[in-house]
Amino acid sequence: MREFDYRRATDVAGAVALLGADPDTRYLGGGTNLVDLMKTGVERPARLVDIRELPLDRIEPAPDGGLRIGATVTNADLAAHPEVRRRYPALAQAVLAGASGQLRNMATVGGNLLQRTRCGYFADVTRPCNKRIPGSGCPAVEGEHHNHAILGASEHCVAVHPSDMAVPLAAFDAVVHYETADGPGELPLADFYPPVGETPHLETSLPAGALITGVVLPPAPVAARSRYRKVRERASYAFAIGSLAAALDIRDGAVHEARLALGAVASRPWRARTAEEVLTGAPAAPETYAAAAEAELAAARPLPHNGYKVTLMRNLVVAVLTELAEEAAR
Protein backbone atom coordinates (compact mmCIF):
# COMPACT_ATOMS: atom_id res chain seq x y z
CA MET A 1 0.00 0.00 0.00
CA ARG A 2 1.19 3.50 -0.80
CA GLU A 3 1.95 5.66 2.23
CA PHE A 4 -0.63 8.36 2.85
CA ASP A 5 -1.42 11.44 4.87
CA TYR A 6 -4.50 11.28 7.10
CA ARG A 7 -6.73 14.19 8.11
CA ARG A 8 -9.90 14.20 10.11
CA ALA A 9 -12.49 16.75 8.99
CA THR A 10 -14.91 18.25 11.50
CA ASP A 11 -17.10 20.29 9.18
CA VAL A 12 -18.21 20.02 5.58
CA ALA A 13 -16.44 23.16 4.35
CA GLY A 14 -13.24 21.99 6.00
CA ALA A 15 -13.50 18.57 4.37
CA VAL A 16 -14.02 20.07 0.94
CA ALA A 17 -11.10 22.46 1.47
CA LEU A 18 -8.84 19.63 2.62
CA LEU A 19 -9.58 17.62 -0.49
CA GLY A 20 -9.41 20.56 -2.86
CA ALA A 21 -9.35 19.20 -6.37
CA ASP A 22 -6.42 16.91 -5.61
CA PRO A 23 -6.92 13.72 -7.65
CA ASP A 24 -4.64 11.90 -5.18
CA THR A 25 -6.90 12.57 -2.18
CA ARG A 26 -9.92 10.51 -1.20
CA TYR A 27 -12.67 10.98 1.36
CA LEU A 28 -12.76 8.14 3.89
CA GLY A 29 -16.17 7.05 5.15
CA GLY A 30 -16.64 3.51 6.42
CA GLY A 31 -13.67 2.43 4.33
CA THR A 32 -15.12 -1.00 3.56
CA ASN A 33 -14.47 -0.60 -0.16
CA LEU A 34 -11.69 2.00 -0.23
CA VAL A 35 -9.37 0.34 2.31
CA ASP A 36 -9.85 -3.01 0.57
CA LEU A 37 -8.92 -1.45 -2.79
CA MET A 38 -5.91 0.31 -1.24
CA LYS A 39 -4.61 -3.05 -0.03
CA THR A 40 -4.74 -4.47 -3.55
CA GLY A 41 -3.32 -1.34 -5.18
CA VAL A 42 -6.41 -0.46 -7.21
CA GLU A 43 -6.62 2.76 -5.18
CA ARG A 44 -3.36 4.58 -4.33
CA PRO A 45 -4.33 7.83 -2.59
CA ALA A 46 -1.64 10.10 -1.14
CA ARG A 47 -4.07 11.56 1.43
CA LEU A 48 -7.28 10.48 3.13
CA VAL A 49 -9.77 12.97 4.53
CA ASP A 50 -11.80 11.15 7.18
CA ILE A 51 -15.40 12.39 7.07
CA ARG A 52 -16.95 10.06 9.66
CA GLU A 53 -17.24 12.82 12.26
CA LEU A 54 -19.05 15.26 9.99
CA PRO A 55 -22.56 16.15 11.17
CA LEU A 56 -24.14 14.23 8.29
CA ASP A 57 -25.31 11.21 10.27
CA ARG A 58 -29.00 12.02 10.59
CA ILE A 59 -32.19 10.99 8.82
CA GLU A 60 -34.68 13.84 8.89
CA PRO A 61 -37.95 14.89 7.26
CA ALA A 62 -37.33 16.92 4.10
CA PRO A 63 -39.28 20.19 3.65
CA ASP A 64 -41.38 18.69 0.84
CA GLY A 65 -42.49 15.75 2.98
CA GLY A 66 -39.78 13.38 1.82
CA LEU A 67 -36.79 12.13 3.75
CA ARG A 68 -33.27 13.49 3.88
CA ILE A 69 -30.60 10.88 4.59
CA GLY A 70 -27.17 12.17 5.63
CA ALA A 71 -24.12 10.90 3.75
CA THR A 72 -22.47 9.35 6.80
CA VAL A 73 -25.55 7.47 8.00
CA THR A 74 -24.48 3.85 8.19
CA ASN A 75 -26.24 1.13 6.24
CA ALA A 76 -27.36 -0.39 9.55
CA ASP A 77 -28.88 2.87 10.79
CA LEU A 78 -30.59 3.45 7.44
CA ALA A 79 -32.21 0.01 7.50
CA ALA A 80 -33.23 0.44 11.15
CA HIS A 81 -34.96 3.79 10.69
CA PRO A 82 -38.73 3.60 11.32
CA GLU A 83 -39.67 6.04 8.55
CA VAL A 84 -37.56 4.18 5.99
CA ARG A 85 -39.14 0.85 6.98
CA ARG A 86 -42.65 2.33 6.91
CA ARG A 87 -42.54 4.57 3.84
CA TYR A 88 -39.80 3.06 1.66
CA PRO A 89 -39.62 -0.60 2.73
CA ALA A 90 -37.78 -1.69 -0.44
CA LEU A 91 -34.91 0.59 0.60
CA ALA A 92 -34.58 -1.01 4.03
CA GLN A 93 -34.81 -4.47 2.46
CA ALA A 94 -32.14 -3.64 -0.13
CA VAL A 95 -29.72 -2.40 2.51
CA LEU A 96 -30.34 -5.47 4.68
CA ALA A 97 -29.70 -7.70 1.65
CA GLY A 98 -26.23 -6.22 1.14
CA ALA A 99 -22.92 -7.28 2.70
CA SER A 100 -22.75 -8.56 6.31
CA GLY A 101 -23.81 -7.23 9.69
CA GLN A 102 -20.27 -6.02 10.35
CA LEU A 103 -19.97 -4.19 7.03
CA ARG A 104 -23.43 -2.63 7.36
CA ASN A 105 -22.29 -1.09 10.67
CA MET A 106 -19.29 0.51 8.93
CA ALA A 107 -20.48 1.39 5.42
CA THR A 108 -22.09 4.76 4.77
CA VAL A 109 -24.75 6.00 2.36
CA GLY A 110 -22.35 8.29 0.49
CA GLY A 111 -19.76 5.57 0.14
CA ASN A 112 -22.38 3.07 -0.96
CA LEU A 113 -23.22 5.29 -3.96
CA LEU A 114 -19.53 5.55 -4.81
CA GLN A 115 -18.57 1.92 -4.37
CA ARG A 116 -16.67 0.36 -7.22
CA THR A 117 -17.58 -2.58 -9.39
CA ARG A 118 -16.70 -6.07 -8.23
CA CYS A 119 -15.59 -7.07 -11.75
CA GLY A 120 -12.62 -9.40 -11.21
CA TYR A 121 -10.56 -7.68 -13.89
CA PHE A 122 -11.05 -4.28 -12.25
CA ALA A 123 -9.86 -5.75 -8.94
CA ASP A 124 -6.79 -7.43 -10.47
CA VAL A 125 -4.07 -4.84 -11.11
CA THR A 126 -2.14 -7.30 -13.28
CA ARG A 127 -4.92 -7.27 -15.89
CA PRO A 128 -6.08 -4.60 -18.34
CA CYS A 129 -9.21 -2.67 -17.40
CA ASN A 130 -10.64 0.42 -19.06
CA LYS A 131 -11.98 1.64 -15.74
CA ARG A 132 -8.58 1.50 -14.04
CA ILE A 133 -6.41 2.36 -17.02
CA PRO A 134 -8.40 4.01 -19.80
CA GLY A 135 -7.59 2.49 -23.18
CA SER A 136 -6.01 -0.67 -21.77
CA GLY A 137 -8.87 -2.91 -22.86
CA CYS A 138 -11.65 -5.00 -21.34
CA PRO A 139 -10.85 -8.70 -20.86
CA ALA A 140 -14.36 -9.34 -19.52
CA VAL A 141 -16.00 -8.99 -22.95
CA GLU A 142 -14.43 -12.28 -24.05
CA GLY A 143 -13.52 -13.58 -20.60
CA GLU A 144 -15.28 -14.20 -17.29
CA HIS A 145 -18.51 -12.27 -17.50
CA HIS A 146 -21.28 -14.45 -16.17
CA ASN A 147 -22.25 -11.68 -13.73
CA HIS A 148 -21.74 -8.74 -16.08
CA ALA A 149 -24.08 -6.28 -17.74
CA ILE A 150 -26.92 -7.03 -20.13
CA LEU A 151 -28.17 -3.44 -20.42
CA GLY A 152 -26.46 -0.18 -21.29
CA ALA A 153 -22.92 -1.54 -21.56
CA SER A 154 -20.38 -0.82 -24.29
CA GLU A 155 -17.48 -2.68 -25.87
CA HIS A 156 -15.26 -0.70 -23.49
CA CYS A 157 -16.77 -1.98 -20.25
CA VAL A 158 -19.40 -4.52 -19.28
CA ALA A 159 -19.08 -4.23 -15.49
CA VAL A 160 -22.12 -3.85 -13.22
CA HIS A 161 -22.69 -1.50 -10.31
CA PRO A 162 -22.72 -3.58 -7.13
CA SER A 163 -24.96 -1.50 -4.86
CA ASP A 164 -28.24 -2.88 -3.56
CA MET A 165 -29.15 0.41 -1.89
CA ALA A 166 -28.90 2.40 -5.13
CA VAL A 167 -31.57 0.25 -6.82
CA PRO A 168 -34.55 1.41 -4.74
CA LEU A 169 -33.04 4.91 -4.64
CA ALA A 170 -33.31 4.90 -8.45
CA ALA A 171 -36.89 3.62 -8.30
CA PHE A 172 -37.87 6.34 -5.82
CA ASP A 173 -36.27 9.28 -7.72
CA ALA A 174 -33.66 10.03 -5.07
CA VAL A 175 -31.59 13.20 -5.43
CA VAL A 176 -27.93 13.28 -4.39
CA HIS A 177 -26.80 16.46 -2.64
CA TYR A 178 -23.16 17.49 -2.57
CA GLU A 179 -20.85 20.30 -1.56
CA THR A 180 -17.95 21.78 -3.50
CA ALA A 181 -15.55 24.66 -2.95
CA ASP A 182 -17.87 26.68 -5.22
CA GLY A 183 -20.99 25.85 -3.20
CA PRO A 184 -23.61 23.12 -2.99
CA GLY A 185 -25.21 21.21 -5.83
CA GLU A 186 -27.55 18.33 -6.47
CA LEU A 187 -27.91 15.52 -8.98
CA PRO A 188 -30.94 13.29 -9.51
CA LEU A 189 -29.83 9.68 -9.20
CA ALA A 190 -30.96 9.23 -12.82
CA ASP A 191 -28.10 11.55 -13.86
CA PHE A 192 -25.62 10.55 -11.16
CA TYR A 193 -24.12 7.62 -13.08
CA PRO A 194 -23.28 8.63 -16.67
CA PRO A 195 -23.64 6.17 -19.57
CA VAL A 196 -20.58 3.93 -20.03
CA GLY A 197 -19.85 4.73 -23.68
CA GLU A 198 -16.15 5.23 -24.27
CA THR A 199 -15.46 6.55 -20.77
CA PRO A 200 -16.06 3.76 -18.24
CA HIS A 201 -13.50 5.39 -15.92
CA LEU A 202 -15.88 8.33 -15.43
CA GLU A 203 -18.21 6.65 -12.97
CA THR A 204 -20.21 9.59 -11.61
CA SER A 205 -21.25 13.06 -12.72
CA LEU A 206 -20.02 14.64 -9.49
CA PRO A 207 -17.75 17.67 -10.00
CA ALA A 208 -14.09 17.16 -9.04
CA GLY A 209 -13.60 17.38 -5.29
CA ALA A 210 -17.32 17.19 -4.49
CA LEU A 211 -18.38 15.72 -1.16
CA ILE A 212 -21.72 13.92 -1.06
CA THR A 213 -23.63 15.41 1.88
CA GLY A 214 -26.84 13.44 1.63
CA VAL A 215 -29.58 11.82 -0.39
CA VAL A 216 -33.12 13.19 -0.49
CA LEU A 217 -36.06 10.89 -1.14
CA PRO A 218 -39.06 12.79 -2.46
CA PRO A 219 -42.44 11.84 -1.03
CA ALA A 220 -43.64 8.72 -2.87
CA PRO A 221 -46.84 7.20 -1.49
CA VAL A 222 -46.47 4.32 -3.97
CA ALA A 223 -43.25 3.32 -2.20
CA ALA A 224 -45.16 2.28 0.92
CA ARG A 225 -46.04 -0.92 -0.96
CA SER A 226 -42.62 -1.80 -2.28
CA ARG A 227 -40.26 -4.71 -2.17
CA TYR A 228 -36.64 -5.53 -2.94
CA ARG A 229 -35.78 -9.01 -4.15
CA LYS A 230 -32.18 -10.10 -4.61
CA VAL A 231 -31.01 -13.21 -6.44
CA ARG A 232 -27.52 -14.41 -5.62
CA GLU A 233 -25.40 -17.52 -5.80
CA ARG A 234 -25.67 -18.28 -2.08
CA ALA A 235 -28.33 -17.51 0.50
CA SER A 236 -26.58 -14.56 2.16
CA TYR A 237 -23.57 -12.25 2.04
CA ALA A 238 -23.02 -12.22 -1.73
CA PHE A 239 -23.42 -9.67 -4.47
CA ALA A 240 -26.53 -9.90 -6.63
CA ILE A 241 -26.63 -11.63 -9.98
CA GLY A 242 -29.93 -9.83 -10.45
CA SER A 243 -32.15 -7.76 -8.22
CA LEU A 244 -35.33 -5.74 -8.38
CA ALA A 245 -36.86 -2.87 -6.46
CA ALA A 246 -40.55 -2.58 -7.24
CA ALA A 247 -43.49 -0.54 -6.00
CA LEU A 248 -47.06 -0.99 -7.13
CA ASP A 249 -50.29 0.94 -6.64
CA ILE A 250 -53.38 -0.86 -7.97
CA ARG A 251 -56.78 0.82 -8.20
CA ASP A 252 -59.94 -0.82 -9.53
CA GLY A 253 -58.01 -3.73 -10.96
CA ALA A 254 -55.61 -1.59 -12.97
CA VAL A 255 -52.08 -0.40 -12.31
CA HIS A 256 -52.33 3.21 -11.16
CA GLU A 257 -48.61 3.69 -10.61
CA ALA A 258 -45.57 1.43 -10.75
CA ARG A 259 -41.90 1.95 -9.98
CA LEU A 260 -39.26 -0.52 -11.11
CA ALA A 261 -35.47 -0.53 -10.98
CA LEU A 262 -33.18 -3.43 -11.80
CA GLY A 263 -29.86 -4.18 -10.11
CA ALA A 264 -26.73 -6.06 -11.21
CA VAL A 265 -27.63 -5.72 -14.88
CA ALA A 266 -25.87 -2.47 -15.84
CA SER A 267 -23.15 -0.02 -14.86
CA ARG A 268 -25.79 1.80 -12.82
CA PRO A 269 -29.04 0.96 -11.10
CA TRP A 270 -31.38 0.53 -14.07
CA ARG A 271 -34.63 2.44 -13.79
CA ALA A 272 -37.11 0.48 -15.92
CA ARG A 273 -39.16 3.34 -17.34
CA THR A 274 -40.23 1.39 -20.42
CA ALA A 275 -41.71 -1.29 -18.19
CA GLU A 276 -43.39 1.36 -16.04
CA GLU A 277 -45.05 2.86 -19.12
CA VAL A 278 -46.42 -0.54 -20.15
CA LEU A 279 -47.73 -1.14 -16.64
CA THR A 280 -49.43 2.20 -16.08
CA GLY A 281 -53.15 1.92 -16.76
CA ALA A 282 -52.97 -1.75 -17.76
CA PRO A 283 -54.87 -4.54 -15.98
CA ALA A 284 -53.07 -5.75 -12.85
CA ALA A 285 -52.37 -9.26 -14.10
CA PRO A 286 -49.33 -11.51 -14.64
CA GLU A 287 -49.63 -11.09 -18.42
CA THR A 288 -49.21 -7.34 -17.98
CA TYR A 289 -46.17 -7.83 -15.75
CA ALA A 290 -44.58 -10.19 -18.30
CA ALA A 291 -45.25 -7.75 -21.13
CA ALA A 292 -43.70 -4.93 -19.12
CA ALA A 293 -40.59 -6.96 -18.32
CA GLU A 294 -40.21 -8.06 -21.93
CA ALA A 295 -40.57 -4.49 -23.19
CA GLU A 296 -37.79 -3.34 -20.85
CA LEU A 297 -35.54 -6.28 -21.66
CA ALA A 298 -35.96 -5.87 -25.42
CA ALA A 299 -32.94 -3.57 -25.12
CA ALA A 300 -30.84 -6.29 -23.46
CA ARG A 301 -27.62 -7.24 -25.23
CA PRO A 302 -26.36 -10.26 -23.30
CA LEU A 303 -22.84 -11.62 -23.63
CA PRO A 304 -22.15 -15.30 -24.39
CA HIS A 305 -22.23 -16.33 -20.73
CA ASN A 306 -24.82 -14.08 -19.12
CA GLY A 307 -27.91 -14.61 -21.25
CA TYR A 308 -29.51 -16.27 -18.23
CA LYS A 309 -29.94 -12.82 -16.71
CA VAL A 310 -32.54 -11.85 -19.30
CA THR A 311 -34.76 -14.76 -18.26
CA LEU A 312 -33.97 -14.23 -14.60
CA MET A 313 -34.93 -10.55 -14.66
CA ARG A 314 -38.13 -11.25 -16.60
CA ASN A 315 -39.19 -13.85 -14.06
CA LEU A 316 -38.14 -11.64 -11.16
CA VAL A 317 -40.34 -8.78 -12.39
CA VAL A 318 -43.35 -11.06 -12.83
CA ALA A 319 -42.87 -12.76 -9.46
CA VAL A 320 -42.38 -9.60 -7.40
CA LEU A 321 -45.21 -7.64 -9.07
CA THR A 322 -47.53 -10.62 -8.60
CA GLU A 323 -46.62 -10.74 -4.91
CA LEU A 324 -47.16 -7.01 -4.47
CA ALA A 325 -50.56 -7.27 -6.18
CA GLU A 326 -51.57 -10.18 -3.93
CA GLU A 327 -50.45 -8.23 -0.89
CA ALA A 328 -52.54 -5.26 -2.01
CA ALA A 329 -55.58 -7.49 -2.43
CA ARG A 330 -55.38 -8.82 1.14
Partner: protein, 190 residues
Protein backbone atom coordinates in the same frame (compact mmCIF):
# COMPACT_ATOMS: atom_id res chain seq x y z
CA UNK B 1 0.11 21.65 3.36
CA UNK B 2 2.56 19.57 5.35
CA UNK B 3 1.84 15.89 5.15
CA UNK B 4 2.72 13.04 7.38
CA UNK B 5 2.38 9.32 6.84
CA UNK B 6 2.32 8.40 10.52
CA UNK B 7 0.71 9.64 13.72
CA UNK B 8 0.85 9.05 17.44
CA UNK B 9 -2.60 7.84 18.42
CA UNK B 10 -4.40 6.78 21.58
CA UNK B 11 -6.70 3.80 21.34
CA UNK B 12 -9.32 2.95 23.97
CA UNK B 13 -9.39 -0.83 24.16
CA UNK B 14 -11.26 -2.91 26.72
CA UNK B 15 -11.36 0.01 29.12
CA UNK B 16 -7.65 0.80 28.85
CA UNK B 17 -5.78 3.49 26.94
CA UNK B 18 -2.88 2.62 24.65
CA UNK B 19 -0.74 5.34 23.06
CA UNK B 20 1.40 4.30 20.12
CA UNK B 21 2.88 5.68 16.91
CA UNK B 22 1.33 4.12 13.81
CA UNK B 23 2.02 4.22 10.12
CA UNK B 24 -1.34 5.34 8.68
CA UNK B 25 -1.50 2.14 6.66
CA UNK B 26 -1.86 0.07 9.84
CA UNK B 27 -5.23 -1.58 10.22
CA UNK B 28 -6.83 -1.87 13.63
CA UNK B 29 -6.38 -5.63 13.30
CA UNK B 30 -2.62 -5.35 12.82
CA UNK B 31 -2.33 -2.76 15.60
CA UNK B 32 -4.11 -5.11 18.01
CA UNK B 33 -2.14 -8.19 17.09
CA UNK B 34 1.32 -6.92 16.16
CA UNK B 35 1.67 -3.82 18.32
CA UNK B 36 -0.45 -4.45 21.41
CA UNK B 37 -0.15 -8.28 21.66
CA UNK B 38 -3.92 -8.57 21.77
CA UNK B 39 -3.80 -11.69 19.60
CA UNK B 40 -7.28 -12.97 20.44
CA UNK B 41 -8.56 -11.15 17.37
CA UNK B 42 -7.69 -13.33 14.37
CA UNK B 43 -6.61 -12.52 10.83
CA UNK B 44 -8.42 -14.67 8.28
CA UNK B 45 -8.91 -13.22 4.81
CA UNK B 46 -7.77 -9.63 5.57
CA UNK B 47 -10.40 -8.52 3.00
CA UNK B 48 -13.53 -8.12 5.09
CA UNK B 49 -15.03 -11.35 3.86
CA UNK B 50 -14.56 -13.90 6.67
CA UNK B 51 -15.36 -12.12 9.95
CA UNK B 52 -12.47 -13.67 11.93
CA UNK B 53 -11.24 -10.19 12.90
CA UNK B 54 -14.60 -8.96 14.24
CA UNK B 55 -14.38 -6.56 17.20
CA UNK B 56 -16.88 -4.15 18.73
CA UNK B 57 -16.45 -0.45 17.95
CA UNK B 58 -18.64 1.72 20.17
CA UNK B 59 -20.59 -1.48 20.79
CA UNK B 60 -21.12 -2.25 17.10
CA UNK B 61 -19.55 -5.24 15.44
CA UNK B 62 -16.95 -4.28 12.86
CA UNK B 63 -14.29 -6.04 10.82
CA UNK B 64 -10.99 -4.72 12.13
CA UNK B 65 -9.10 -5.63 8.93
CA UNK B 66 -10.87 -2.84 7.00
CA UNK B 67 -10.69 -0.36 9.86
CA UNK B 68 -7.64 1.88 9.84
CA UNK B 69 -6.15 2.17 13.34
CA UNK B 70 -5.72 5.93 12.98
CA UNK B 71 -9.42 6.27 12.19
CA UNK B 72 -10.36 4.28 15.32
CA UNK B 73 -8.87 6.88 17.64
CA UNK B 74 -11.48 8.19 20.06
CA UNK B 75 -13.76 5.17 19.75
CA UNK B 76 -14.40 2.47 22.35
CA UNK B 77 -12.89 -0.78 21.09
CA UNK B 78 -13.88 -4.11 22.64
CA UNK B 79 -12.00 -7.23 21.63
CA UNK B 80 -12.55 -10.84 22.66
CA UNK B 81 -10.13 -10.20 25.55
CA UNK B 82 -12.57 -7.64 26.93
CA UNK B 83 -15.99 -9.27 26.74
CA UNK B 84 -15.77 -11.26 29.99
CA UNK B 85 -15.97 -9.67 33.42
CA UNK B 86 -12.84 -11.08 35.03
CA UNK B 87 -13.48 -14.82 35.37
CA UNK B 88 -17.17 -14.44 34.63
CA UNK B 89 -17.66 -15.31 31.01
CA UNK B 90 -20.00 -13.37 28.78
CA UNK B 91 -23.21 -15.37 28.16
CA UNK B 92 -22.21 -15.79 24.53
CA UNK B 93 -18.80 -17.19 25.50
CA UNK B 94 -20.43 -19.57 27.99
CA UNK B 95 -22.91 -20.81 25.37
CA UNK B 96 -20.14 -21.44 22.81
CA UNK B 97 -18.23 -23.45 25.45
CA UNK B 98 -21.21 -25.46 26.62
CA UNK B 99 -22.40 -26.33 23.13
CA UNK B 100 -19.02 -26.75 21.40
CA UNK B 101 -19.70 -23.89 19.01
CA UNK B 102 -16.39 -24.46 17.24
CA UNK B 103 -13.95 -27.08 16.09
CA UNK B 104 -10.46 -25.65 15.59
CA UNK B 105 -11.41 -22.38 17.29
CA UNK B 106 -9.73 -19.97 14.91
CA UNK B 107 -12.92 -18.19 13.87
CA UNK B 108 -14.38 -18.32 17.39
CA UNK B 109 -13.31 -14.90 18.76
CA UNK B 110 -14.84 -13.28 15.69
CA UNK B 111 -17.96 -15.44 15.96
CA UNK B 112 -18.41 -14.46 19.61
CA UNK B 113 -17.87 -10.73 19.08
CA UNK B 114 -20.19 -10.88 16.07
CA UNK B 115 -22.86 -12.74 18.05
CA UNK B 116 -22.69 -10.15 20.84
CA UNK B 117 -23.22 -7.42 18.27
CA UNK B 118 -25.94 -9.35 16.46
CA UNK B 119 -27.92 -9.98 19.66
CA UNK B 120 -27.74 -6.31 20.54
CA UNK B 121 -28.96 -5.34 17.04
CA UNK B 122 -31.83 -7.80 17.38
CA UNK B 123 -32.75 -6.51 20.84
CA UNK B 124 -32.84 -2.99 19.42
CA UNK B 125 -35.35 -4.12 16.82
CA UNK B 126 -33.19 -4.19 13.69
CA UNK B 127 -34.80 -6.45 11.08
CA UNK B 128 -32.75 -8.72 8.82
CA UNK B 129 -32.93 -9.79 5.18
CA UNK B 130 -35.08 -12.79 6.16
CA UNK B 131 -37.51 -10.83 8.36
CA UNK B 132 -40.98 -11.07 6.80
CA UNK B 133 -42.50 -7.95 8.30
CA UNK B 134 -40.00 -5.13 8.64
CA UNK B 135 -42.51 -2.47 9.75
CA UNK B 136 -41.33 -0.99 13.05
CA UNK B 137 -44.75 -1.78 14.55
CA UNK B 138 -44.06 -5.49 14.02
CA UNK B 139 -41.25 -5.43 16.59
CA UNK B 140 -38.19 -7.68 16.55
CA UNK B 141 -38.79 -10.99 14.77
CA UNK B 142 -38.44 -14.26 16.70
CA UNK B 143 -34.78 -15.27 16.73
CA UNK B 144 -35.24 -18.40 14.65
CA UNK B 145 -32.44 -20.50 13.19
CA UNK B 146 -33.02 -18.75 9.86
CA UNK B 147 -32.68 -15.33 11.50
CA UNK B 148 -29.49 -16.34 13.33
CA UNK B 149 -27.92 -17.79 10.18
CA UNK B 150 -28.69 -14.63 8.21
CA UNK B 151 -27.46 -12.29 10.95
CA UNK B 152 -24.26 -14.33 11.40
CA UNK B 153 -23.52 -14.76 7.67
CA UNK B 154 -20.53 -12.42 7.91
CA UNK B 155 -18.62 -15.03 9.93
CA UNK B 156 -17.26 -18.04 8.11
CA UNK B 157 -16.22 -21.28 9.84
CA UNK B 158 -14.06 -23.47 7.65
CA UNK B 159 -14.56 -26.42 10.01
CA UNK B 160 -18.28 -26.10 9.37
CA UNK B 161 -19.32 -25.92 13.00
CA UNK B 162 -22.36 -23.90 12.04
CA UNK B 163 -24.96 -26.19 13.62
CA UNK B 164 -23.46 -25.74 17.09
CA UNK B 165 -22.70 -22.05 16.49
CA UNK B 166 -26.37 -21.40 15.71
CA UNK B 167 -27.39 -23.33 18.83
CA UNK B 168 -24.94 -21.36 20.95
CA UNK B 169 -26.21 -18.02 19.69
CA UNK B 170 -29.79 -19.11 20.33
CA UNK B 171 -28.97 -20.23 23.86
CA UNK B 172 -27.05 -17.03 24.62
CA UNK B 173 -30.07 -15.04 23.48
CA UNK B 174 -32.35 -17.09 25.70
CA UNK B 175 -29.92 -16.81 28.63
CA UNK B 176 -29.86 -13.05 28.49
CA UNK B 177 -27.01 -12.55 26.05
CA UNK B 178 -29.06 -9.70 24.76
CA UNK B 179 -28.79 -7.87 28.04
CA UNK B 180 -25.13 -8.73 28.23
CA UNK B 181 -24.57 -7.51 24.71
CA UNK B 182 -26.36 -4.26 25.36
CA UNK B 183 -24.23 -3.41 28.35
CA UNK B 184 -20.89 -4.69 27.13
CA UNK B 185 -18.99 -6.76 29.66
CA UNK B 186 -21.14 -5.88 32.67
CA UNK B 187 -23.41 -8.91 32.40
CA UNK B 188 -23.19 -11.02 35.52
CA UNK B 189 -23.30 -14.74 34.96
CA UNK B 190 -24.70 -16.76 37.86
Amino acid sequence: MASSTSSVITLHINGEKFTLPVDHRTTLLDALRERLTLTGTKKGCDQGQCGACTVLLDGRRTVSCLQLAVAAEGREITTIEGVAEGDRLHPVQRAFLELDGYQCGYCTPGQICSAIGALREHAEGLPSAVTDDIRPEAGPPPLTEEEIRERMSGNLCRCGAYVAIVEAVARAAADGGRTGAATGSEEVVA
